[in-house]
């Protein structure tokens, strides 16, 4: 296999790396994996709330990236945006299958929701509470909230990922945040938020 001859691989854009991979470069896949796979894994885990499933989704999303590499048209779309979209769709499929075979109550719970939470709640427990609340949002709201507030993407990019208008993204994130606020309000004491 050929090897990259460029001095600074970090300076190579994602789409150029994809072309290098398609041309047989042995290092391109490693660089792309380091850049993109952690984000894919993070998005999938926040969408699914399950580490093992999120890893499967990350592998599948990256596999689709390797497959499309020879046909990738540079300049038409950002690789990361395309990958976020693939991941979103894979997660949606899994959530639908999950609903088909199991009820909402069977969603993976990081911990017993009825367990009392200490006043000095650990960061992990806060995240668990957030994840449980996210799990209860409708799919599209969850996608929008995860991409906007946890992955830190801008509304135009989220609109491209979800294939909707920017206004629709704003609406989804606003409704998602309101729903999260309601879901978490009951646990505000546990979360450490007190009325003044």
């Amino acid at each position: 296999m050929q090897q990259m001859a460029l001095d600074d691989p970090d300076a190579i854009p994602d789409d150029a790396l994809l072309v290098l991979y398609a041309n047989g470069d042995g290092q391109a896949s490693r660089l792309l994996t380091a850049r993109l796979a952690p984000r894919v894994l993070s998005q999938a885990q926040r969408m699914l709330g399950d580490r093992a499933e999120a890893e499967d989704v990350a592998q599948e999303a990256m596999l689709r990236l390797w497959r499309i590499a020879p046909d990738w048209r540079r300049g038409e779309a950002k690789v990361s945006t395309w990958l976020y979209r693939v991941t979103a769709n894979l997660c949606t499929d899994r959530l639908r299958r999950r609903r088909g075979g199991a009820g909402l109550d069977d969603l993976p719970e990081p911990e017993d929701p009825s367990a009392p939470v200490e006043e000095t709640l650990q960061a992990q427990a806060r995240l668990d509470a957030l994840q449980r609340a996210l799990n209860q949002l409708p799919d599209r709201q969850r996608q929008a909230v995860v991409l906007r507030h946890l992955e830190g993407l801008g509304n135009p990019e989220i609109a491209e990922i979800l294939e909707i208008s920017t206004e629709a993204v704003e609406s989804l994130t606003a409704r998602g945040k309101r729903a999260l606020s309601r879901l978490l309000a009951a646990r505000r004491e546990e979360l450490g938020y007190h009325d003044d």
Binding site: S29, A34, P38, A58, L127, K177, S181, R188
Partner: protein
């Protein structure tokens, strides 16, 4: 309702807490097993594609350079490149390109048949054609084959010195 600021703080906490989660990750920022799976897929696809490309090139070479020996060896399907490998096998690049430009062996066969038919009609025009020409040209056209000038340009040059 949870105050908006509290929710934003929770989001920020979730974003920041990803780093400690990745503490057990490898140098790619992933669980080691996942890195191996992803890179394994990438290598496998790359190898498959390289093998396909090599096979495709071999087929192209076989087609361009005469496929009979490779067909006999079972490397190329019998009949592969028909109409394209024949002339290139005879004469090389120019004839091969001309053959392909004209449409291959079937097209050349048709072209040859038309040329022979045209020559024959010129030498021995059918009666119907002859009468049509007479009507058109207003003169008599002989069908006598002996009236065809059979002397060549060389004969003419020879007689003129």
């Amino acid at each position: 309702m949870l105050p908006d600021a509290a929710l934003e703080a929770l989001f920020a906490e979730a974003r920041d807490v990803e780093a400690p989660k990745a503490a057990g990750a490898d140098d790619l920022g992933l669980p080691p097993g996942l890195s191996a799976r992803i890179l394994g897929d990438a290598d496998q696809l790359q190898s498959d594609r390289a093998a396909e490309e090599a096979a495709r090139r071999q087929r192209l070479r076989a087609t361009a350079g005469g496929s009979a020996p490779l067909a006999a060896a079972g490397l190329v399907p019998a009949g592969a490149g028909m109409g394209q490998g024949v002339l290139s096998g005879l004469g090389g690049g120019f004839w091969g390109q001309l053959s392909r430009a004209l449409g291959g062996l079937p097209a050349l066969a048709g072209l040859g048949a038309v040329a022979v038919a045209g020559l024959w009609i010129g030498v021995m025009p059918p009666d119907a054609l002859e009468s049509s020409l007479e009507t058109l040209l207003g003169s008599s056209v002989s069908s006598n084959p002996y009236l065809v000038d059979s002397t060549t340009a060389f004969d003419f040059l020879d007689s003129e010195g």
